[in-house]
Amino acid sequence: MKAWINPKIQEKIVFASLFLSTLIIVTPVILVVAIIIARGSSVLSVEFLTSMPRMGMKAGGIFPAIVGTFYLVIWTLIFALPIGIFSAIYLSEYSKRNLLTRIIELAIVNLAGVPSVVYGLFGLGLFVGFLKFGASILSGSLTLAVMVLPVIITASREALQSVPNSFREVSYSLGATRWQTIRHAVLPHALPGILTGTILSISRAAGETAPILFTVAAFYLPRLPKSIFDQAMALPYHLYVLSTQVPNVRLELQYGTALVLVGLIIIANLVAVVIRSYFRARKQW
C-alpha cells in the first residue's frame, strides 16, 4: 500500500532536494574560482605577465604563453569568422527546408561534438602532415578554426534569424537584390549577436589544450614566435606542462597560470554579456 503524503508537503520536500541539487552543482564552481584567485594572485605581477620563463620554467614569467595564445586566437578568428558568418547567412537567408539543409545542420552538430583530441589528430594529419605546414601557429589556428566554426555559425544564424522579416520586405520592395538586402538591411542589425558568438569562440579557442598539443604547442620556447609558421607556447598547454611534466614547480606558479587563463576567459565572457545587454537595451525593434 502506497503511503499518502500530503501533496503540499511532498512538494516542499521535492523542491528542497531540487534546490540542494542545484547548490551541489553551483557551489563548487564558485569554490574553484575562489581557490584559483586566492592561491594564484600571489604570483600575479607585471613581471610575471611580461617576462620569459627561466630555470626550465620553474621560475620567471609566462609572457610567451600569453603571446602565443593571443596569436592563436587572432588567427583562429581570421580563418573561422568569414566561413562561419557566410555559412550562417546561407542557412538563414538562402537555404530552404530540404534534405541538404538538414544534412548541414547535422554536420554542424557533429563538428560541435567531436572530441577535442580528435581535432588534434585531424590537425596533425591534415595541416601538419599532409599540407606540410608543420607544427605552427598556422596549423594550430586552422585546427581551432574548424573547432569553433559551429559556435560562430549557430550564434550568427540565430542573430540573423531574429532580424524582423519586415526589414527584408522593405528592402526588396525598394528594388534591392538578395545580397544587397542581406548586406544592408539584415547583417548590420545582426552584428551584436554575431559579436557575442565571436567572443564566445575566442574563449573556447584560448582554453583548449588537446587540439594544440600536436599542432602548435611548444614545450619550452624562450623566445617569441616570429611568424605564423613558428611554433608557440600557449597558456593551456603551459598549465598542463607545469602541473604534470615539470617536477617541483611551485604550486603558486601553477595557480598563477591558471588564474591568468581563467581570468582572460571570464573577462571575455563578461564583455560578451555586456555587449549583449547594451545592444538589447538600445534595440529599437
Binding site: E11, L18, I25, V29, L106, P115, G207, T209, S243
Partner: protein, 289 residues
C-alpha cells in the same frame, strides 16, 4: 558588373554553407588515412578486443579493450552522477527559482561551462585527487571515481542547458491548465511538464554522454593512466582520449603506434558521431510532429 560581383559573393556563401559537411568528411577521411594502415598488419577484432595495450614493447601489443572499458567506466560513472543532478538543477532553475535567483544560478552554470577543461583537470589534480585518497584510504587518488566526479561536473552545463530548452518548449498553457485544475506545482511538473519534455531529456543525456566520452585533458590528469582492465571504481584507468593525448608526442610519424592512435581516433569519432546523430534526430524528430 554588379551581376558578376553578386554571383561571386553568392557562390562563396553557398560554398561556406556546405563547408561544415566538407569539414566533417575531411576529419573522417584524415583519420582513416592515417589509421587504416594499422589494419594491414593487425586484425580489427584483435585491435578492438585485445586486452593488452603495450605499444612500446617488442613486439607491440595493440589491443584497446582496456581503453574502451576505461572510457566506458568513467563515462558511466559520470552519467550516473550528472544526469539526475543536471535534470534536477534544470527543473529547479527553469520552473521553481524566483527571477533574481534564476539569473544568478544560470550565471553560475554558464561560468562552469566557460572554465577550460585543463583548469578543471589541474584543480582536480591538486584538490580532488588527494581528497579521494584520504577519504577512501586507498594508495592513490588517481582513479576512475575521481575522473567520473570531475567529468560529471563538466557535463552539467550541457545537460542543464538542453533540459532547460526542452522545458521551455512546453507551452505555458499546459502548466496553467493543470494548476487551474487544482494540482500543485510539483504535481504539474511531474505529470505534465516532464513527460512533454521527454525527448529533450533523452537528448540531454545523450549529449552529456558525448561530452564526457570526448573529454581529454581532465581525464588524463585525474584517472591515473593505467591501461589495465578496471575491476573497481577506485583503480586508475586509461581512457581512449587520454591515450591519444599522452602517447602521440612519443610516436614516430608513420609507425604502427602512430596508426594505432589514429585508429583509436576513428573509434572515438564513430562513437560521438552516432551519439550526436541520435540526439539530434530525437530532438528534431519530435519537433516535426
Amino acid at each position: 558588373m554588379r551581376k558578376y560581383y553578386e554571383f561571386i559573393v553568392e557562390s562563396l556563401i553557398f560554398i561556406s554553407g556546405i563547408a561544415s559537411i566538407l569539414f566533417v568528411l575531411l576529419i573522417f577521411i584524415f583519420l582513416l588515412k592515417e589509421g587504416l594502415m594499422l589494419f594491414k598488419d593487425l586484425g580489427v577484432f584483435d585491435f578492438l578486443l585485445g586486452t593488452h595495450w603495450y605499444p612500446i614493447s617488442e613486439p607491440p601489443r595493440l589491443g584497446i579493450l582496456s581503453l574502451i572499458l576505461g572510457s566506458l567506466w568513467v563515462t558511466a560513472g559520470a552519467t550516473v552522477i550528472s544526469v539526475p543532478l543536471g535534470i534536477a538543477c534544470a527543473i529547479y532553475i527553469g520552473e521553481i527559482a524566483p527571477g533574481w535567483l534564476k539569473e544568478i544560478l544560470k550565471a553560475g552554470v554558464e561560468l562552469l561551462a566557460a572554465i577550460p577543461s585543463i583548469v578543471l583537470g589541474f584543480i582536480g589534480l591538486v584538490t580532488l585527487v588527494p581528497l579521494v585518497k584520504k577519504l577512501f584510504g586507498i594508495s592513490t587518488g588517481l582513479t576512475a571515481f575521481s575522473g567520473s566526479l570531475m567529468l560529471a561536473f563538466m557535463a552539467m552545463p550541457t545537460i542543464v542547458s538542453i533540459m532547460e530548452d526542452a522545458l521551455n518548449t512546453v507551452p505555458k498553457s499546459y502548466r496553467e491548465g493543470s494548476i487551474a485544475m487544482g494540482a500543485t506545482q510539483w504535481q504539474t511538473i511531474r505529470r505534465i511538464v516532464l513527460p512533454s519534455a521527454s525527448s529533450g531529456i533523452i537528448a540531454a543525456i545523450m549529449l552529456g554522454i558525448g561530452r564526457v566520452i570526448g573529454e581529454t585533458m581532465a581525464v588524463m590528469m585525474i584517472t591515473g593512466n593505467a591501461a589495465i582492465i578496471p575491476h573497481s571504481f577506485f583503480q586508475p584507468v586509461r581512457t581512449m582520449t587520454a591515450t591519444i593525448a599522452a602517447e602521440m608526442g612519443e610516436t614516430v610519424q608513420g609507425s604502427q603506434h602512430y596508426s594505432a592512435l589514429f585508429a583509436i581516433g576513428i573509434v572515438l569519432f564513430t562513437i560521438t558521431f552516432m551519439i550526436n546523430l541520435t540526439a539530434d534526430l530525437s530532438l528534431h524528430g519530435k519537433k516535426a510532429r
